[in-house]
């Protein structure tokens, strides 16, 4: 009891800058803000690695301009997701790892590598690289992101409206992305028509939900 009181937001003394009411209100509502924050670092680690890997994936969709464009939208939106949540990590008294390898290692979704081995000269062996294989990597990456942001919605629902708002904006876009790659993969691999129900973004990587909270114009 006395322990709980110590952590209560009402227990933060006037002028005390060693504690954040913005964190204590979350704790009072039953969510551990430190645990949530570390989960956010893992999640934006995945957004960041995906942004990197999609650069390679989209390049290797050689000659498929429409696929490249859609992949570019998904790629830029993953960067927007990273940018959207970074400030939240700091608000929760966390930080990005100093070492980018650490950041990549803890990413909550798998590396979305180009699905082909390297050749003897250190380049990609593209001999047997198929468009449908790239589309499948993209699809599975989106599915992982949907699961992650749904988890974060679950963790924060009713306890942390600020993180919840971010997670649900991102989730909206991840579900768009899955629909895009289901449409493209079913057409490419199975000759099936499975409409996504939407069109490419107005501007590349528009991020219609997640950049509503734009904190700088280049993000």
């Amino acid at each position: 009891m006395s322990d709980e009181k110590e952590h209560a937001s009402s227990g933060v003394e006037p002028g005390d800058t060693s504690k954040r009411v913005g964190m204590e209100v979350i704790r009072e509502r039953g969510v551990d803000p430190e645990e949530l924050r570390e989960k956010l670092v893992d999640a934006i680690g995945a957004e960041f690695t995906t942004y990197y890997y999609y650069t390679n994936l989209r390049m290797h969709l050689a000659g498929e301009e429409d696929y490249k464009e859609i992949t570019e939208d998904a790629r830029l939106e993953d960067r927007a997701h990273f940018e959207l949540v970074v400030p939240r990590v700091y608000e929760l008294e966390g930080s990005l790892p100093n070492d980018i390898r650490e950041f990549a290692d803890r990413a909550s979704c798998p590396d979305a590598e180009v699905p082909t081995p390297m050749d003897d000269d250190g380049g990609f062996d593209t001999e047997d690289l198929e468009v449908e294989d790239i589309l499948e990597v993209l699809l599975e990456a989106e599915r992982c992101a949907i699961r992650t942001w749904s988890e974060i919605c679950d963790m924060t629902r009713g306890a942390d409206p600020r993180t919840y708002d971010m997670a649900q904006r991102i989730l909206n876009e991840e579900i768009d992305h899955e629909a895009w790659f289901i449409e493209l993969l079913s057409k490419e691999r199975d000759g099936e028509i499975n409409p996504a129900g939407h069109f490419a973004r107005g501007e590349p990587g528009d991020a219609p939900y997640s950049t509503n909270n734009r904190f700088n114009d280049s993000a």
């Binding site: 290692d105 990413a107 909550s108």
Partner: protein, 127 residues
């Protein structure tokens, strides 16, 4: 152990008392088909087990194998060190025998990975 005609196995899921899951302290028996994962079978039976990526990468779904046999055909980051220490990833683990697992073992697997200098333990628990 005899393999049944319809290739389903009984998977006994033990949820530790100290777990924060709703099913803490319970032991649940599931019939899991050969092509099905333990996680999917549990969730469709209304038993909520932890998971995130569901691609055998993040280790949120870690469990310990007490008895039986599972395979991880599609796990993206699961190695012999995990297997030898008795860890399984329920999101990708498919039974190959009647099996018992203790779930909610994320912290332990994280530490085990850190001890071996492997991700994500190295990154999350490293100095």
């Amino acid at each position: 152990m005899t393999r049944r005609a319809n290739a389903t196995w009984t998977v006994t899921v033990v949820v530790p008392d100290e777990s924060s899951l709703d099913a803490a302290g319970e032991t649940v028996e599931l019939e899991v088909a050969e092509h099905e994962t333990i996680l999917a079978a549990a969730r469709s039976a209304g038993v909520w087990l932890p998971a995130d990526c569901q691609q055998g990468w993040c280790i949120t779904c870690a469990a310990r194998l007490v008895e039986g046999d599972v395979v991880h055909p599609s796990a993206r980051r699961y190695d012999d060190g995990d297997r030898e220490a008795g860890f399984v990833l329920t999101c990708t683990a498919k039974p190959r025998a009647d099996t018992t697992v203790v779930v909610d073992q994320y912290d332990d697997l994280l530490e085990h990975r850190a001890d071996r200098g492997k991700p994500p333990g190295n990154a999350k628990l490293g100095d």
